[in-house]
């Protein structure tokens, strides 16, 4: 590969194609370590009320420097467009963040995205100057509509958030990849390193992983595994795999056999 293989989203250039979520870790120190080991240059963060009773409570920004790692504010926990818009406008106010992750949920049990509200929010946020990376279901038609209203990245789920099931519908992901000019990032539902490799081998531009790292028995080792899985999957995709063949093809030359 002569040209450097950058991941570009919202006109920003990144080397790593692994985005890491910062929730569910045992503590912030562990989270910061996992992010470092993973090599991620983007982390998702949530917007919540400051704890006014505990003035000394540590802040995420004390552990992960937003000048070094790009914060991607999310709208986790929002169940309609108004809540999501309010959250991201506040996020922008904290420090000028324009690259955001939109996630409007529709069901508390399966955590599937509420796509009508998601579409509406994407359009409004884009008009307000946000670069919106959109968590969505793996529906090519909806993905197209998101693209048409100005999304900056399509982020279809592999499976329900935190489920660890891996990509459930490869065909849909392939169709989304074929039809879009936007970066496609698999968001939610990955469980192990091979899941990340599969996403990258399909041709996805990146993966977003939280639970699979944070809730692994050894989160730091899993962060490293995910780092290499994403790199391996990407290189495998770029290398152009061999054709599948139901018959064997010997690896050693037939000529000169004694």
């Amino acid at each position: 590969m002569s040209k450097k293989d950058y991941f570009i989203v919202g006109k920003k250039k990144f080397t790593s194609r692994l985005i890491v979520g910062t929730g569910k870790y045992r503590n912030m120190a562990e989270c910061a370590k996992a992010v470092k080991i993973s090599g991620a240059e983007i982390v998702t963060v949530a917007v919540r009320r400051v704890n006014i009773l505990d003035k000394k409570k540590p802040m995420l920004m004390d552990y992960i420097d937003p000048k070094k790692i790009t914060y991607l504010p999310n709208t986790a926990g929002c169940f309609n467009s108004n809540e999501a818009l309010r959250t991201l406008r506040l996020a922008r106010e904290i420090g000028g963040w324009k690259l955001v992750k939109l996630e409007v949920l529709g069901d508390k049990k399966n955590l599937f995205p509420e796509m009508i509200e998601t579409l509406k929010s994407t359009e409004i946020l884009t008009k307000e100057g946000f670069k919106v990376m959109v968590y969505c279901n793996d529906d090519p038609l909806m993905a197209k509509r998101l693209e048409n209203v100005g999304a900056s990245a399509i982020m279809p789920l592999a499976a329900p958030i935190g489920s660890g099931l891996g990509i459930q519908n490869k065909t849909n992901i392939k169709i989304i990849l074929q039809q879009t000019k936007l970066p496609v990032v698999i968001d939610a539902g990955l469980g192990e390193a091979s899941d990340a490799s599969i996403a990258m081998e399909l041709g996805c531009d990146g993966v977003l992983i939280n639970t699979a790292i944070a809730k692994a028995k050894d989160p730091l080792q899993m962060a490293e595994a995910m780092k290499y899985a994403v790199v391996a999957g990407r290189k495998s995709y770029l290398s152009g795999r061999i054709k599948k063949n139901i018959f064997g093809d010997p690896s050693s030359p037939k000529k000169g056999i004694i």
Partner: protein
């Protein structure tokens, strides 16, 4: 008598009594909140942090102060 000089507000969903002369700036300072790491909403309107010195808090105001925490 004492309560007469106080205003009652809601901050992050919790009831709070403040001096009448309170500003958003004095509130943030009192709570030891680093301004560069938060966003402030006053009665559902986002406040420009540069102007908080001049924004007086009134009775029944609803204030939200948010920051980033870990999330997926």
């Amino acid at each position: 008598m004492k309560n007469k000089n106080k205003i009652k507000i809601k901050l992050n969903g919790k009831k709070l009594a403040l001096n009448q002369s309170s500003t958003l700036f004095s509130l943030v300072k009192k709570l030891n909140i680093p301004l560069n790491k938060v966003a402030i909403e006053l009665n559902r309107k986002i406040i420009d942090k540069k102007k908080i010195k001049y924004i007086k808090i009134r009775n029944k105001d609803n204030i939200e102060i948010v920051y980033f925490i870990g999330g997926g």
